[in-house]
């Protein structure tokens, strides 16, 4: 439970979870997830790779802690979007999630690959479900809407960050879809007609579109036909 927690007298430890986590997130930002190895992290901490295993049982454990840490700054208080109804608050929370993932290189990949259940993740989820319940949604609808928005947001940001990394490093990869569509046999008439939008890099606008659809769907479900 608290194996290396109470720093009894002795040599001051060069390692601890908090500092290691910080260094790991820095390394992630600088080099990306593929370059985040236990050995490189140990190097950055001035230690041998094996030493990390006193603080994290596995690399997966480290990644889970990183995912939890990424959401730590998210403001889940009501005041954060006080000036609005339930749909404004929901949108604010969803945008905060995307922003938190975007704040670190490969943030969405780290988050998608783990199952963090710490206070920042649960606090976010509780706030989200709370907004819907207090707006009068059924409990099961509120819970399912959480998954819809989180899965959409993670899926979107995964794509967004993949596109960002493909853009620098291989500047011509942006044209891959365009080429495949235009050079297409068979032809893709609908993709051709919508290519400008399909190849747009305005990810914020794209995210807002989908978020708006989901919230619009929730609105329709809450007030099946009347105006509240």
């Amino acid at each position: 439970m608290s194996s290396p927690s109470t720093p009894t007298r002795g040599r001051p430890a060069r390692l601890d979870r908090a500092r290691t986590l910080e260094t790991a997130l820095d390394l992630l930002n600088q080099s990306g997830l593929d370059a985040l190895t236990m050995r490189r992290l140990a190097d950055a901490m001035g230690v041998q790779a094996g030493a990390l295993y006193r603080y994290f049982a596995t690399k997966q454990d480290l990644l889970t802690a990183m995912a939890e840490r990424m959401l730590e700054g998210v403001d889940t208080t009501a005041h954060a979007a006080d000036s609005g109804d339930w749909s404004d608050r929901l949108a604010t929370l969803a945008r905060s999630l995307r922003t938190a993932l975007l704040a670190h290189r490969d943030g969405a990949r780290v988050f998608a690959g783990t199952h963090a259940t710490g206070p920042s993740v649960l606090g976010f989820a509780d706030a989200f479900v709370g907004v819907l319940r207090e707006a009068g949604f059924r409990d099961d609808d509120a819970a399912r809407a959480l998954y819809t928005v989180v899965n959409y947001t993670v899926g979107h940001t995964l794509e967004e960050q993949a596109a960002l990394q493909a853009a620098d490093g291989d500047p011509e990869s942006v044209g891959t879809l365009r080429e495949a569509v235009t050079a297409g046999t068979p032809p893709y008439p609908h993709l051709s007609a919508t290519l400008p939008t399909l190849t747009s890099t305005d990810f914020t606008r794209l995210f807002e579109f989908g978020l708006d659809l989901i919230i619009g769907g929730l609105r329709a479900r809450r007030a099946p036909s009347a105006g509240d």
Copy 2:
């Protein structure tokens, strides 16, 4: 372009893209993505690992081809959902995507980690955008809706397959969320109240809920207030 394609006279090649792809997908199903290594795949083909690089430039290349192959069976013809309006067709296409990803272990992870632009992926996208355009949606809305549904579906299935694997292998991992929520200091009132839904394993129902929200949002956007 067609380096090892035309089988000129000589020893019949033990390798080719199609057979290798098939074996790779089998291996994926049996052992999962983490166990799918170039060496193990080579073993399964009765060959040395280096030989694979005559057919796939990198492992990423192989994974992209696998992603494309996964969508090959998806029926994108109109008749597949002939008996319905645009929203029924859209739902059918979205369900087909989820089903195709679920058909292989870690299918969503493979798909999310690649950028396939082959005929089956583009065919799916073209059909999807086509349904919306023919239903009278604006071109840019149709294109953005494609991303919304695909990103949601991939995000959802990523979670679904992660939950499935966590379930067998560590049968008590299902209770992880429950424990974290109930043992929670601080408490999570809204998560506690909705725990049964949050811990449900009826992923089809969960998927349908989110899909319904998105389609509901599209409906509202198409007919801003009238009933069409």
